[in-house]
Symmetry: D2
Subunit: 429 residues, 4 copies
């Protein structure tokens, strides 16, 4: 249980912090200006492509990606010769080869500019989860066609799971159908929403979760995942869903997407039929770490803004920095962040040492604890900034909306509280 | 201390509820469609003008407006013969002549559609406060030029007080300067923001708060208010300020407005020089009642949406309506709303019977209690709606942003807590 | 919905406030000293008898008691000629004849000295509820034997309902058995706890709730109530239950009481067999008002202590009264208390005008809202008092324990939240 | 930053857990019975002496004690040849030689029976802090006379710092005077309260903090500490202070102690004149770790009780273990405890590696976070237990009172929030 940042992590942190200061933060304003003259507000502004090139040069590319995947035991349907091994043979590596514990502190840093930094490093959701998924469960052909360009930062991707008509926390509810057609392919029909990244025209492929066997006895074997290229006939990216008034242009927005009898070849199935639920579960763990560490980075930014404001502003003849309520906010924020970071680092360390399954309780614990605490911290920071806090002149309101949404994404708090509590209670039954 | 709704209130409530159901709620979608084809998203959509005409016919016009104003004792600089008296003589009345206690339950009802209903009834902020202000403190000429068309719903107005560089809760901080020029007029220079309604081109006049005597000994006599027509040279409506990503188009947005050496004749001064602070104080009371009752209406809508969702949706094989956490949210919401409504009604009753001053503690209490509680209620409703809750498909996220902002408007919670506590402590000194 | 205190209430409030200042508060120390030399710490100290005599002289006796009871329609098993009518005929009245709305503000005042004041006025729980119950549902003989001396303050009584083995919020759970024996009497066996007042030797009678028909189809008709004199063979008052370390000597403690095959004559049945549940329900309403108003009085005392401490103490060179966090505590306390009082008064008014049933939601709302808020207020007051706050030198810690316990008495918050929410949801089913 | 429990810690944990199960928990009832027949309720019951003997045999004695003390640089007035070195020479060790990180998990275990376990292991406050203080700052004579019998468990001791008249969080406020008398001794006069352990007659010595130089320029050099044997004339142990009705008999209570011109020889001064403040600061760090880890043990006990109750009890036909609100309580408790434990372990590790000073923020953070969170957890557990929760039949109410008091001991939360926030803000000044 050693969470200290090792030499490699420290070195990467320094390099990344310098990259943030020298390249990412100055690019925020440029990106805003460039976006105004793009055809679509969801297009990637040119400055982001420059950031990507620089990150690559600096060795800050695909930091999240683990080249070696060895979950063969757990998921027997995975190819025996995995994508990575082949490449390892040739000496080619795509990722930085970091453990979760090494990557987590870097994810935190990107949280200080959640709009641009993750994309600049090719470490943005949902592509990260999709790349891991393809590396683990994709066929050689799927990896060549989709994983390679994703790792190269040439295209983006989306993960089409959430549906408007059912409680998304319960994957067994999924209503989208994936039917075999006569010619050995699949026909997909369904309605998805909050498909992140899908408004960006660079998003070339959807990983779609649906039911191949809706009446199957085992409710966890009814689902499958298929790859659907964006330009397949019948795919309709209908509209952008907003998040508290924000459309999250830099993240490629969140789309409502309809699949009207969309046909794909059988080779687009990921893994095997009935394997969708297991793949979705496997996809979750690292993503939670990333989200939570970025949230911590967001909280750190809120604390910094709160402190700067408090020393600059006065009210009733006294700097805010000397007012008791402000002390309470800042102290509580610092105390919370210290606790959250340790819990997330422990979770990362557990995932590295005992795997997703052994870290089950902790993965759930960080999902429950982090968004809620960070929402509170940013809200206090908003309050300290007055009208400015809710405006576009400070990043706080938008950070708040992002953090708040994470109390719902991947299932609301209450679902995770229920599940964690049931595990705790089991010991006494 | 009788808060029961009297016969007139009950009759108006019924009429207003019918108007909401038959006209306002169906107009919400129409307004959205019309707005898409307007020159500016802040223009008033035609359907709103229709609603206004209907409201007028139905006797639901200017419900907030009290024709008789008799604050002459408190504010010696008010014309002896007030605007209203003249008209009373001719039998013409502009308002419904309701007490605060009678109007409050009607304001609550408009809170169910805060985007359209207040405007439809010519009862929208900041025009309401501006009309009251002009009726009480405006000269005959000012009333004729500005109050008449405002009461007729022909133009809109803005109240330009908040400034980005100073804590807005402390009016003695105001940095905008109002200088006498050689020819007996005034020159205004300053920067204001979050000037609500100012993005709407129908907003034809600003009531600007600034300092005529910044070095005056009495810090509460340094400020004055002047009327500035929108088309006066030097007035720059620079940009829309957003509120958690929302631009509040129907409210006419919230503008940043610059006054670059703007010249107005001396007759545009409201009341007397040095009277700005007192006028601002007098303006506050009724506005707080309106805001708080609309907030309660918003909370009622959130509770209704929460209940409807809870009976429609299931998770883990059980309707949400049978889950303990949902019971907690709904019960707490109901219990809170009942308490808040009583407190606001008591405050309205106090204002009617002993005036703003006697209701000082209560006016502050509702300002502290209502936004905070309603923010919490709407947040629970968002949580119950999952991704839909943060989206544009339900009104909840936007209602939340509006409610959250009211924890800052007119001074943050903390300023009012401080002031109320000091009054409580004074008894023991 | 007029909550104003009428002339009679105002007059009684003044008289009661004077009685508190002149008699009750000075008696607190005397009572403490006298208790030290009594045979049992639960005995009534002589000074309390003096207070009772004075209260009687001053017309502050049995203020809670409503002489006229007319619930005959609702409870068909009630004697047609009620106790009160007989006496009314003779012109003799036992109570003050106050409405709930008139009595509520008086109950609040007694909350400032919850140890002595209610007993001094013969308005202490559980006797109040027991007296009302006997007046409504008791036979002429029962009223003569038990109600008369209770109204005269000569004896005390207990209400034996709560059991250690079952969730007390659900009366259908009651395990105590009441069996008919061969000779037309009843035999009671069961175990009760937290039987308030039962440690005081003056407590001469128990009203015991148990099941006469445990297998009856209608779960609300299985229970009956019987009167059990304390000296009946088989009654064992086993031990005092403590409440956060307090034994509540002045309240007569909270006893664990065992009924070992206790025999009573059939005439000791209250009302009819199977009527226990309905009687228990009828008993609740007014008690809730009393408890909540006393809680508000306790909160007022906590606010006063908080303010006094804040102006007297300094920390880090500044009086506590000028520290932001203290402002927050005091303001929030005041804002809460104003809301709670209005809600309780409305509930009292509803009970007076539409009866218990029409006030169902409000009775539940005050039960949910009041103890929770008052616990929080007193806790802040403890915090402000440092070590003194948790000690016997201030009444705060003991007030806190009493308030905290009321989040459990008569069913925990969660049960009432559930029930209130279900009623709210019903509208949408 | 490696928090894993090493082999020694694991081995001691197992031994201690076995000792708890086999000896301490069964002794709880015995101790209660024995106490009833002691002369004074604060006397140590015989069974505790037996536990002490067993703990000693099992090598579970003085686990907290660090034999090597090397703070000579920081505190130049410490004897060059320390107590421990002398004994080390002879090979005699008194403590287990554990680091803070090794001892912390053991302290957590004792939190499960906070009444008996710490005393059984000779690891109870305030003796632990006093022994460390004497080891570091005591003269050879002082160590021989007081430290030796304390380490042997033959006597107890008290730390007399808190005063009723001043805010105890600010040591510069201390009013007790320590005057030099003509003959080279000291005369102490002052009033102290909440002197833990002092009601137990085994408590043979007080370490008294007072001012030797009340007008000294440096407010942190005005204080000194002296040893005062209990039987010195002028020492009056006046009364026991209660904590929410509890008198904490097993802890030796909390006394109010008066020093009426108490004379002690000059050799009773600890360290040097003016060194009191520095010694008090040095004493704090490890104590905070111990308190916080015991609190975590208390929280674990509350969680266990909550779970056991939830699986055993039903309400409304459903086990509590299947109710949503209960899931929320249990999940939140688990998530909190995991975070708190990591933060305390990190603090222990920091103290071991960089010393008290480097761990300043963390020591404050655990002081702010732990009691508050544990109070909340135990309160939920009380709620789940209904009336039983506030009674003497479960340990919850008493655990709650102990935890609540720790939000005040060593300074209230607000003082630590203020200090931590100021350090955070300093970076931006």
């Amino acid at each position: 249980m050693d969470f200290a940042y090792d030499a490699r992590t420290e070195e990467l942190r320094e390099r990344l912090l310098a990259f943030m200061d020298e390249h990412v933060l100055p690019a925020e304003e440029v990106a805003g200006e460039q976006r105004a003259s793009l055809d679509s507000p969801w297009q990637t502004p040119p400055v982001v492509e420059e950031l990507k090139a620089t990150a690559r040069q600096l060795g800050l590319w695909n930091l999240f990606f683990v080249d070696e995947h060895s979950f063969v035991d757990e998921h027997s349907f995975v190819d025996e010769h995995s994508f990575v091994d082949e490449h390892s043979a040739s000496g080619e590596k795509h990722g930085a080869g970091l453990t979760n514990l090494q990557y987590a502190p870097l994810a935190e840093i990107t949280g200080r500019s959640p709009q641009l930094a993750p994309t600049a490093l090719n470490c943005a959701a949902p592509d990260t989860g999709n790349m891991e998924l393809l590396a683990q469960f994709g066929s050689a052909e799927q990896r060549e066609r989709w994983l390679e360009p994703l790792l190269a930062g040439e295209i983006r991707s989306a993960f089409a799971m959430t549906e408007p008509e059912v409680a998304s926390s319960d994957a067994t509810n999924i209503a989208t159908r994936i039917r075999r057609d006569g010619e050995g392919g699949y026909v997909i029909s369904g309605r998805k929403w909050y498909i992140s990244g899908a408004m960006n025209p660079d998003c070339k492929v959807f990983i779609v979760m649906g039911k191949t066997d809706p009446d199957g006895e085992d409710v966890r074997r009814q689902q499958s995942m298929v790859l659907v290229p964006r330009d397949t006939p019948g795919v309709e990216v209908r509209r952008a869903m907003s998040v508290y008034g924000y459309e999250d242009h830099y993240h490629g927005g969140h789309a409502e997407v309809l699949f009207h009898d969309v046909r794909v070849p059988a080779a687009n199935l990921i893994g095997e039929e009935g394997g969708g639920f297991a793949i979705a579960q496997a996809r979750l763990g690292p993503g939670r770490i990333h989200h939570c560490m970025r949230l911590i980075g967001m909280a750190e930014r809120a604390i910094e803004l709160m402190c700067r404001r408090a020393v600059e502003r006065s009210a009733f003849g006294k700097p805010l920095a000397r007012q008791g309520v402000v002390h309470e906010w800042i102290a509580d924020a610092r105390v919370q962040v210290e606790q959250l970071r340790l819990l997330v680092l422990k979770t990362a360390w557990l995932m590295d040492t005992v795997g997703n399954r052994g870290a089950h309780t902790e993965i759930q614990a960080i999902k429950i604890a982090t968004p809620r605490a960070v929402v509170r911290i940013i809200d206090d920071a908003v309050q300290l900034h007055g009208a400015g806090g809710v405006s576009q002149d400070f990043p706080l309101a938008e950070l708040w909306a992002a953090a708040r949404t994470l109390r719902l994404a991947d299932g609301p708090d209450e679902v995770h509280q229920r599940s964690l509590a049931r595990r705790e209670l089991k010991r006494y039954l």
